[in-house]
Amino acid sequence: MLSAMYPTLAPLIGVPVPTHGFFVALGVVVAACVFVVEARRRGHTDERILYVVLGALMGGAIFMRLGTWLQHLDLRQNASLVEQWAYGNRSILGGLVGAWLGVHVAKRVVGYRLRTGDLFAPAVALGMAVGRVGCLLTELPGTPTGSSYGITLDRTTAARLGAPAGVPLHPSFVYEIVFHAVAFAVLWFWLRHRLTAPGETLTFYLAAYGIFRFFVEFVRGNEVVWAGLTRPQLFLLLTIPLILGRIAWQARRGVYRLAAVEVS
């Protein structure tokens, strides 16, 4: 099990490549491949799909930085925009929201009417599974756990991350990697062939991830800000009901019909 973090990959492969950036880059490449394969399978060959991708990247890049910006009600306590952009945390949840908004704006601008959620869902799931390996190797793993499978940090790493040394910590990023890998398998090998409602696999994926993330936050080790909840949990507390409400509304309209599978 891990005992130290790896800010660069030098100890593993001998080249000082930033670990986090490397795995996020790998995740983006993997996600792009899955996106292209699925787009071809579903016949999304229109040139305008490139603008949709651009919208996702723009929204994701901007919101993942700004998602953690307004943390204090007293605005003077928040970082300036430039400081936030250069030094601030990057938020996966903020990135997902930004990408979703960016896609909708881009589709409206270029007049692309086909639903694209089915292209993004498996791509995002696999990309996140790969990208989270970078987080696992560089970030605070989680809160202390009494079990033996936790990550125990050495003294130097623990001091740098602000975690207790010699105490097993929840491998919260391993939980996430497993979740996204399973989600990708379900989406890729089952749901995308059976769900007849276009674009809805992304809704299911985001709802599942939101609920999963809400519970993982209890062992993630993020700052608790209100009523025992972290900032991501407060955000999810508002957004999960919206997604679930949408699913319930669509279900009442009879949108979620699974395609019949022939049994030989």
Binding site: G21, V28, L50, V53, L57, G60, M64, W85, A86
Partner: protein, 129 residues
Amino acid sequence: MSQPPYQPPGQPPGPPPDPPPEGAGWPTPLPATPAKKPKAPLLAGMLIGAVAPWFFSLVPLILTNGNTAAGYGLYAWVLVPLAGIVLLLVPKTRRWGLGVLIGFFGMLIIGAGACLTIVVGLNASGGFS
């Protein structure tokens, strides 16, 4: 003396029959497929969008041993996306602009935040004013 019109062998005399109505066995021409647009501007644009900010930030910094020039190189982080937008607005360079913007924002997602911090941090000791 006028020649009789050429009659192909095996055909009944008289003018050729009218073609049957559409869909009665005659092969219909395939719909014209739109010409494939070149991928090179898109890919080259992506490369430029992802690399140019680094180039203009780091090269002056290295050449001047971390001195003041890097401060101007940092403007590339604003100018590259602006250039991408301008290219996108001009029909002839639209795919270049699309590529530049995809490369730039993709690079931002991959991890420019941390690296930009390094550039700004290095520059701080070299004087930004």
